[in-house]
Amino acid sequence: MVACPFEIPTYEYHKALTPRVRKCTLCHPRISRGLLPGCVDSCPTEALLFGKRTDLLKIARERIGEKPDVYIDHIYGEKEMGGTSWLYLAGTSFSKIGLNENLGTKPAIEYTAGTLSAVPIIVGLWPVFLTGAYAMNKRREKIAISEQEAAVTASIEATNETAAEKLDIALKKAERLKKKEIDNAVKKALAEVQQPDDEKTE
């Protein structure tokens, strides 16, 4: 109902439980019995004709050709919206008798064909892109974590190293101190040993 540019389908708004969307079936039961649709059958002036579309188009062209002053040179419905099953001839402009003249020649189904053809592409490619995004973030996260870990171990190593260096220095210092002490002690002892001699010599 929304899509029909001629506003033909109607709805049974009064029915609560079994509403139907309906439109003219051209008296389908009569046609299947070989009869004409009711409206065509009862039309005395042959303003309404029923038949094969190709035949009707031929008749329409003949009528326009015979009376070019009476008819506008256009068969409404031949190309509108891809071509319809109802065809109109008119003596005034079609918009005056309530027919939209700006409908274009595209069948309705073509308007959504592009979008519908994009559906399988999205189903096919979106998971690829999204999984890709997920994988990249996962990887980035992993790298971030391992970099962090590396940084931690590096800093631990660095601390260890400096600690070792410090220890080394401290040890060396201690050694030097000890050496100095020993030296001092030796010097002292030597001095002590020397002293009596000096005293003697005095």
Partner: protein, 392 residues
Amino acid sequence: MTDEPTIAEGRSLMTPGNVITAIILVAGAIITVLRFTQGLGATTNLSDYNPWGIWIGFDLLVGVALAAGGYVTSAAVYLFGMKRYHSAVRPAVLTGFLGYFMVVIALSYDVGRPWRLPYPFAIQQGTTSMLFEVALCVALYLTVLFLEFSPAALEWLGFRSLRNIITKLTIVLTIFGVVLSTLHQSSLGALFLLAPSKLHPLWYSSYLPVYFFITSIIAGLSMVMFEASLSYRFFSDKMDQTHKDEKNGLMLGFAKAASFVLAGYFIIKVFGISADNNWHYLATGYGAWFLVELLGFVALPSVLYAIGRREKNITLIKWTSALAVLGIILNRLNVSLIAFNWHLPSTDRYFPHWMEIMITVFLVTVGITIFRFVVTKMPILYEHKDYRTSTH
């Protein structure tokens, strides 16, 4: 500022808010009975010219757009690695799930024979129809949202092993969610591609599916911010510290994203006018209304979000999110009702019957009531103490 409503609730059930809720629920129930006994003719202003009213224009189109927060947030957090917004996922998924659930309920009011809703899957496919794709995606996505939401319910009920199985599926479900949302957010716009003669040229464009998809991202982001501010105000006693700590960062980050997406949307809207050479319509009455939408509800929120983000002004961002949400509502109503059937004389145009409005208010109220129930009972705004580490 934060806790007055919750204290009042604790004292007595006869608060003004609860009384109004009760009246709406009773009225809604009565109209529901009328709708399914007297038919659409008695309860709506729908006609052969206007088969889609506010139950489609507002309840369905707006409902689906505003429920987009679920896929936007879960994609941002799980797929694009924005772990710092993790606490926003559960409220967003809950809103998404309830939103879609209410959409399906609203659809049951609107279609003539709701019990035939499963027909497209079993009896008549009609695969060339846009509506088939919409039906398929909505049904599948509702299932995905249900599964995404279910861990919260399972934690509440204490089904540990089932909950753990479903959380293992998080990434797969999120990807499904984004695929299905992309498809049917856009296909809701594509529905209107079929009516080039009925929708005003300024709104009609072959880009309509893209417009609907991009606006759903804006709606999702804005709705998450809007809801976060409301939750912060009304449910702050239910929030854990992580949620409160992450809130401001969430507002700033999402404001940045929403501002930029809005800018992109503004640009493609201009491209749309240019591609169809519709400039001259801008000088008409509909053109003025179009500019109100484009400047007041697209450009303005984009700039306000940007300023809010630069100035770190959370209050401004909060109000801008409300403006952006209003903009989405306006856009959907424009496409489906206001600029639709613009060629018809005003006597044939549609204005909703009061009962249609009442049912809409009723469904929104039911949605909010369920949201309140779930948020108070289940671990939505806080992490369940037994699962604290495993949710990440």
